[in-house]
């Protein structure tokens, strides 16, 4: 069963700026999809259609076969959790433990169950030690992890992450990668927007490249960062990972990640 089906999706902002133009995507449960593209290419607009924050100008979005247009925003909230780029648009509680319990409470879970879901989510992002802190006493990177935890706590089948690695150090990025791997292993669907090509190549099975509100490329990291796709990437001011460029230079095929490059080098020896 297709978890998410986006069909001929178009969106024009009030004022006339066209952000999406005929987007088609089908995403299965347990899929991990990175959406990449230059600033203003429509990535954030696209994911805001997944939980009904924006309603299509043209086309439709289906969840498990049901048209989002017919679903209330509250019902969608139980299906799709979105972590926004800016954690401060999301965080509001005075205590970290209340912040992560709020989502599950709003979905109708009992106090004890919500607290347990919150605690598990804090553990997943490595914030257990901050349970009793005020969210605003945490640094930016930890507030971002908290925003991720508060969506994880809602246990939605679809999790959308808008630029999850901005402001994260190497350990924070590794933590986000663990969270994504766990979600996928649990059969949940992860969709993330990112400008970090290395993170994208290492963490996702599928990469969708957007430009001017359209899907330009859609495939595995090896396909999207293959030399034959570079002109398309360049057309939207993206570039392949460093590892992919080196692999192509050495005629090793498509090596989107450093691990793949090292593997290809070893096979070559």
């Amino acid at each position: 069963m297709t978890r998410l089906a986006i069909e001929g999706l178009g969106f024009v902002y009030p004022g006339g700026t066209r952000a999406l133009d005929g987007v088609d995507l089908a995403v299965e449960p347990g899929a991990s999809v990175a959406v990449i593209g230059q600033n203003g290419s429509g990535k954030s607009t696209l994911v805001r259609h997944l939980n009904g924050l924006l309603r299509p100008t043209e086309g439709r979005v289906l969840h498990d076969g049901e048209d989002v247009a017919g679903l209330r925003t509250a019902a969608l909230a139980a299906r799709v959790g979105i972590v926004f780029q800016n954690p401060d648009r999301q965080i509001f509680a005075g205590k970290v433990r209340d912040e992560v319990a709020f989502g599950p409470r709003m979905l109708g879970r009992g106090r004890t169950e919500a607290a347990a879901a919150g605690a598990a989510a804090l553990d997943a992002v490595g914030l257990t030690d901050a349970t009793d802190a005020n969210p605003y006493d945490l640094g930016y990177s930890r507030r971002k992890l908290l925003a991720i935890a508060s969506v994880l706590a809602m246990d939605t089948p679809v999790v959308v992450l808008d630029e999850p690695t901005t402001g994260q150090d190497a350990r924070g990025i590794a933590r986000v990668q663990q969270v994504i791997a766990k979600l996928v292993a649990d059969g949940r669907t992860v969709i993330a927007i990112s400008h970090d090509m290395r993170f994208v190549a290492e963490s996702f099975a599928r990469v969708v490249v957007m430009g001017s509100g359209r899907v330009l490329l859609d495939g595995s990291p090896a396909e999207v960062f293959a030399e034959s796709a570079w002109p398309v990437l360049a057309s939207t001011y993206l570039e392949p990972t460093h590892a992919a460029r080196v692999g192509a230079r050495l005629d090793l095929g498509s090596t989107p990640t450093e691990a793949r490059l090292v593997e290809a080098l070893s096979a070559h020896d």
Partner: protein, 266 residues
């Protein structure tokens, strides 16, 4: 020249300082990169170097002091900093003024408030927008921009004020690779005109080739300080939670197999 001598700083309501004994000077035209794990004190350093801490947010400098061009800045009012040090926060949403209706007005707001003539203001505004490739956004509403576009607008606003020192807290966090390159080029050009830059970044790939010097922070102290090329190849960075630049990592992977990385990566 901006100089921090033995600076320790404590936030209001905190028992202990979060920066300890920071010695750091920014010469005219110098680009200094700051790396370190999350919560190592990088953003605090930005606030202190720009006078916002303690000037705007309170707290206390518990040791040492900040001088600009040899003039001690302790107890100076905030406006004494505003024309001498510019700062770009990590999150553009917190920096856009919220009082302008277009990108052009937003970028022009800074120079206008410096009391410049209209002609000079317009000229600086256009030049700053051109440098960052955002001329086409001139009539867009600032709060409706994407995160990355907002970040470019914030940096353009700072360029238009032409401060002699500029502090940037993760200036490219929300930018695509092209935007990152534009910002890198703009900063390099700015430094060549004599502006001193302090740049906090997790993206060591950006700092590599841009910075003259790099310092690494750990728990509020400077633990590494040296020429960028040396620090960005220092294995101690990994233990500090900082990735080596991809150029360095790949060169090692290739080198260990007897391949000449420089030739391959050229």
């Amino acid at each position: 020249m901006l100089t921090l001598s033995g600076v320790s700083y404590r936030y209001a309501g905190y028992a202990k300082p979060v920066l300890h004994d920071i010695d750091l000077s920014l010469a005219d035209g110098e680009i200094v990169g700051v790396v370190g794990a999350n919560e190592s004190g990088k953003s605090t350093l930005c606030l202190v170097a720009s006078g916002l801490a303690p000037g705007s947010i309170g707290g206390a400098v518990t040791g040492g002091g900040l001088a600009i061009d040899g003039e001690p800045m302790a107890d100076k009012p905030l406006y004494a900093f505003s024309t001498r040090v510019g700062i770009a926060f990590q999150n553009p949403a917190t920096q856009l003024s919220g009082v302008t209706g277009s990108v052009f007005e937003e970028v022009a707001l800074g120079p206008m408030n410096l009391g410049l003539t209209q002609r000079e203001t317009v000229e600086r505004t256009n030049a700053a927008m051109a440098t960052l490739g955002i001329e086409h956004l001139w009539d867009r509403e600032p709060r409706r921009l994407s995160g990355g576009q907002g970040q470019l607008v914030v940096i353009a606003s700072l360029l238009a004020m032409r401060p002699p020192h500029l502090v940037l807290d993760e200036p490219t966090a929300q930018l695509d690779p092209e935007g990152t390159r534009l910002v890198g080029d703009a900063l390099r050009a700015l430094a060549s005109t004599g502006t001193a830059l302090l740049i906090v970044e997790h993206k060591t790939d950006l700092l590599d080739g841009l910075c003259h010097r790099v310092v690494a922070l750990d728990e509020g102290r400077i633990v590494l300080d040296g020429p960028a090329a040396a620090i960005l190849e220092d294995d101690r960075l990994a233990a500090l939670g900082v990735d080596l630049p991809s150029r360095v990592r790949l060169a090692r992977a290739l080198g260990s197999r007897g391949l000449d990385a420089a030739a391959v990566l050229a």
